[in-house]
Structure formats: C-alpha cells, structure tokens
Amino acid sequence: MDAVWLARLQFSLTVMFHFLFPPISIGLGFLVFLLETARWRTGRDVYRRASDFWLKLFAINFAVGVATGIVMEFEFGTNWAGYSRFVGDIFGAPLAAEGVFAFFLESGFLGLLLLGRKRISSFVRWFAAAMVSLGTVLSAFWILVANSWMQTPDGYRVEGGRALLTDFGAAVFNPSTLPRFAHTLSASLCMGAFLMAGICSWLYLKGRGSDAARVSLRLAVVAAFAGCAFVFVSGDRHARQVAHTQQAKFAAMEGLYSTQKGAPLILFSLPPTQQGPREGPEIVITNLTSALAFGNFQAPIRGLQDFPADQWPPVAVTFLSFHNMVIVGNLMALVALAGLVLLLARKLETARWWQRVAIAAVPLPMIAIQLGWTTAEVGRQPWIVYGLLRTKDAVSKVVAAPAILFSIILFSAIYLCLGGLWLFLLGREIAHGPDIGTRPDAAGEDRHVA
C-alpha cells in the first residue's frame, strides 16, 4: 500500500467521521436558538424545558465534533505537507479566521449556556444561544471558504511553486463559496430538523407526547420543510456553478462522456466506468441536463472525452454519490411535505404512521450529506486544488506508509468507541425525554420565566 493511498484513506476516514457531527450542531444549534427566542420573548416554561432538553443533546454532539475536529486542524500539516507548502499563503488564513471568529465564540458561550444558566439573566441566556448558533454558522463559512478555494481557486497567482494571495476578497468569495455555504447550511438545517422530528415522534409513539415534545415537533416539521426547500434551491444553484467552473467533475456527476448539445439527464443507469458508459437499462430525459445547467435545452455540455483521461475523476463514485444524494434528498422532501400537510390538518400528533416514518428518516440527511461531500471531493480528483496541484503531489514526503497505517488503526479504534459512546449517551438523554428529571426549582424558575 503506498503512502498517497493511505494518506487519502486516512483523510477520508477522519473527515467523514468528523462531519457526522457538525451538521447536527449547526442545525440543532439554530433550532435551539429559535426555541430560546420563543422562551425569552414569551417567558413560557415549555420553551425552557424544550431548549434545556435539546441543549443536552447538542452538548454531547458538540463534544464529539470538537474532539474529532482537532485532528483535522493538524492533518493538513502532518499528512499533506506538500499541499500546505503550496497553498499556505491562502489556505491557512480561513483556518485561523475560523478559530478567531467561530471556535472561540461557540465554545465560550456554550460553556456559559450549559453550566452557567443559574448565573445569567434571561436575556444573556438567549444571547449565549444566539452566539453558539452564530459560531457554528461562521465555522461552516470559513471552512467552506477554505474548501471552496480548493474547488474553484481565485484571487491568487502561482510563483516559485506556491500559490500566492493577490486578492483576499476574490479568494474568500471564490465562485463556489456562496453556493456551497448555502447548500451546506440548508442541509444542516434538515439534519437538525429530522433529528428533532424523529426524537419527538419516538416520544409520541411511546405515549410521552407532552407540550415540550409538541412545540419541538411542530418546529421541526416546519424547519424540515424549509430546509428541504432551501436544499433544492441551493443545490440547483451549486450544480449550475459546477457546470460552469468544474466541467470534468460535472460530466462525471452526470455520466456524460461525449460533448453534446442538448445533453440528457440520466435519472437511472448502471454505474458508468472509467472506460465509458455501461450498457444496460437506463432512464433518461433528453436535453434536461443542458436546460438545468445552462437554462437552454440546446446548450452544449462538455463530456469526459473532451478531457485527457488523467484528468478524469473516478467516474463511478462521482456519478453514484451524486445521484444517490439526489434520490435521498427527494425522499427527505416527501417526508417533510407529508409532515407539513399533517401539521396543517392538525393531525401531526396522532399520525402514528408518519411518526414511524420520521424515526426511520433521521439518518437520511446524514446519508445525503456524506454522499454530497463524496461527490464534491472525489469529483475534484485527481486534483487537490482544482487544475493547479494534483493530490499525489501534495502528500508529506517524510511520512512513511507504516506510520500512516499506525495512525489509521489508532483513529479507527478510537472513532469506533466514540461513535458507540455518542449513540449510547444520546440514546440515554432521549430516553429521559424533555419532561422527566426536570425539577421545577424555584430559584431558577423566577429568573428564567420573568
């Protein structure tokens, strides 16, 4: 096994595991902020109990997210020293900005919110929740700035084997930053909302639907629907951006080999290969890819054959992850839409079939997010910085394969335990529910509900 392959394996393992948690933090953090706003404005105790409950889950999730995120901050230097030397002038800045503007904010105010609730006023509590949510959003922004620059680099020149910054604004707001920021935030909102909806549904099915579960469930259904709507709008915008700025990646996503006017949309086919499309049953809609990508049914789209074979991404993985993400996204939209209809018909709390579906749907956003990132990152190959630096030229030359293998085994073992503990502790808190174990304590009550 060569060091490049192992380094890629290690990065995908650590980053995919890490990114199970931040979408929950972003989505749930925002929903807690909404509940806190309701609590602060109305003073009703049900919002406090709901917010307290979701904060407990948030805290467990946040801890694992932070713990696994530490690895990422160092991994560019440990495993990708060639990359770090090439892009350091540009890539380091958003990482540092993420620390200054996001990590301090979320970790500082989360500590206050979790452990200092008795020491702060109702307003400060709301403010702390707002800052935690803002911190998660800013964190997403800066890390997406960094990653988007790898996809669509801008505001730089290459000199002496290094990319040098020429325009900070152009590097930050490179062509893919905002579409991907919007898409990531809306997917994260879905994640938080589906998690909340699933947990509330479970409480209802267990006959423990209380007022705190009810307000949470309603909020979650509305947020899930809004999240799905944003996911579609931002996903469309993002795909059009890829079609314009990363044409080989787009061709692999859509499974298009020959350059053609009026390119079809492949809804279903056997996975394509590095050699060409695979013969077999398929469902296609003529001209639709051209129409979606360029707003014109006859727009020409470059196929993979227009690019040298050594600049193709792994076609099957890119195609499959993209198509399956879209399928899962559509399933999510169906679940959310059904929930919204039931909510409007005032049948949400009694529709046991939907509640069962909602529990089963909790992993869907997580799956879609992982598939989407697989599309983004595998589709970028063979480049680590699109068109500028190849992944194989970016690894640390001084780190030998056995050392990487050792750390892969180490992290796999730890992550397996962490994942298990995360599920176990979340499960325990969920089983406690929002209304068991909350002691109405007079001192806290007066201050919070004033």
Binding site: A67, I70, A81, G99, K118, K397, F406, L410, I414
Partner: protein, 337 residues
Amino acid sequence: MSLEVAWFLLVGVLIAGYAILDGFDLGAGMLHLFVARGDGERRQIVNAIGPVWDGNEVWLLTGGGALFAAFPRVYATVFSGLYLALMLVVTALILRAVSLEFRGRLDSPGWRRGWDVVFAVSSFLPSLLFGVAVGNIVRGLPLDAEGEFAGTFVGLLNPFALVTGLFSVAMFLTQGAAWLQLKTGGVVRERVLSAGRAAWTAWVVLYVALTAFSRVAAPRSWEAPPVPAWLAPLLFLGAAAATRAMWGRGARSTAFLFSSAAVAMAVATLGAAIFPNLVPALGDPARSLTVGNASSSPLTLRVMLIVALAGMPIVLGYTAFIYSRFAGPVALDEHSY
C-alpha cells in the same frame, strides 16, 4: 517592526495564551487523581475547568491556524516531521475532551473512575509531548536542503527534549495548582497547595537546569539574542518567586496572575532563544526556517494582522465576561458536570 516579526510575536502570544489557559486545564487534569478523593471532590476539580476548557483549547487550534497562515513552511515541516508525536497528542486531546464531557453522564462509580484515569493520562501526555517538541525545536531539527524533516522519531527522544518535556509537565502542574486554589476549598485546597509547592520547585529547578543544559545541547540559542539574554530569565524567575510568595500570604488570585506571567515568560524565553529562526536546522544554519524565508506573502500577513487585531479584542472581551460569570470557588448545581 516588519510584518514577519509581528507574526513571530503574534504566534508567540497565541502559544503563551494556550500555555496559560489550557495549561491550567492540563495541570488540573494531571493533579486531580492526587488531590481529590471520592466523586464529590473530583467533581470540584472537573467543574473548576468545566465551563472554560473547551474555549481554552481553541487557543491551540487558532495557534495552529495562525502558524499555517503566517509560516506555512514551518507548519508543513514541523507537523509532518513530528508525525507520530502529534498523532499521540491529538489522540490524547480527543480522549481528554470526551472524558470531561462523558464522565458525569452516568451515575456509576466504575464509569467515572475509568474516565478519571483517562482524563489524567490524556492530560499528562500532551503536557509532556508539547515540551518534547519545543525542546527539539530549540535544539534544532535535522532538515534537508528542501527544509524537510530528515530525522527519526527515536531521534526526537534526546535528553534535552526529554528534560524540556518534564519542564512543561512541571509548569502545567504549577499553573493547574494556581488555578485550582481559586476554585476549590477546604481539604482539597490544602492538598492542591502542597502539590503546587512541589511542582513549583520542580518547575524552577528545571528552568535553571534547562538554561544551563542549553549551553551544551543548543549552543546556537545563545548567539545573537534579540533582547538581552538575561531579560526573559530574570522576569521568569521574578514572576515565579512572586507566585510562591503570594501563596504564602494566601493571595491566591494574585498568585495565579504571577504564575500566568511566569508561563508567558517561559514562552518568551523560548522565543528569544530561537529568534529569528522558527525552526533552527541542526548542523547547517543555512537550512533553518526563519521569519524571513518561511513566511507568507506580505498581503496575507497584512490581511491576517487585520483579522487578528479586529477579532482578538472581541474574543478577549467576551472571554473575560464568561470567566467573570464563573468567578469564585466551584458551586455545584444540577447542570454541573
């Protein structure tokens, strides 16, 4: 002052901030097995750092990001060169984070004792390894003509680096004891004080020993100091002596400020020893990574300076507010760890 030198100082400030703040967390983690008995006393220690440790660790992440942004060649060389050591540090930091967060979630004594041990070990390991890394940097890393690390993992475990590792353990133990004296009471505080005195003695003795050792092991650190060579050691010894004196008078808050100042001066000693290098090369000085040849472009340094000067005062402001909410000895309530 040139931008490169300003960033040398700023990275130093971030490292000092980390050493002062997460230093007391790491110290508390190492101390707690020895100064606290039973779950109630343990919870005093855990909650003494509970609301703030995560924010303190952000200093490390931000320091790493700032090093990447300002001196990418240093980030690349040091992090890939010290690969195994850093993987162990990261592993320990992961375990430390979850041990703090998960310890209190179950009411079982076995569960809590298990996490207590994990917490102590995972606080000790980074304390030691940070010191070993710094010792190696002061001594100089073996670098090839491209500025890549050309040594081995075993080579990093040289006597000078190991003594630096012990120094940093003693430093964080002292800093942890200084913090815990503000946050604990009764018998726990008495135990913390006597542990702190022992750690303080080791810290000061190791500082003097390291300084002497460096004449032999890192002679280049004595050449062309940017400030008079006696300045940082004098300030360090003064702050350390004041810490001890304030403990004697029971002025615990002042003592913590002095021990924090001493930690900052220890970092300043490091900076003075290596400047203008960030990574001196062992053997051939021409291969060293310096503020001049390892830094980012002036535009990046300027943009980052604006980010730092705009962002850090805000960070310090709300961090001070958050600390003020938790001032005084730990009071456990139902939201505590």
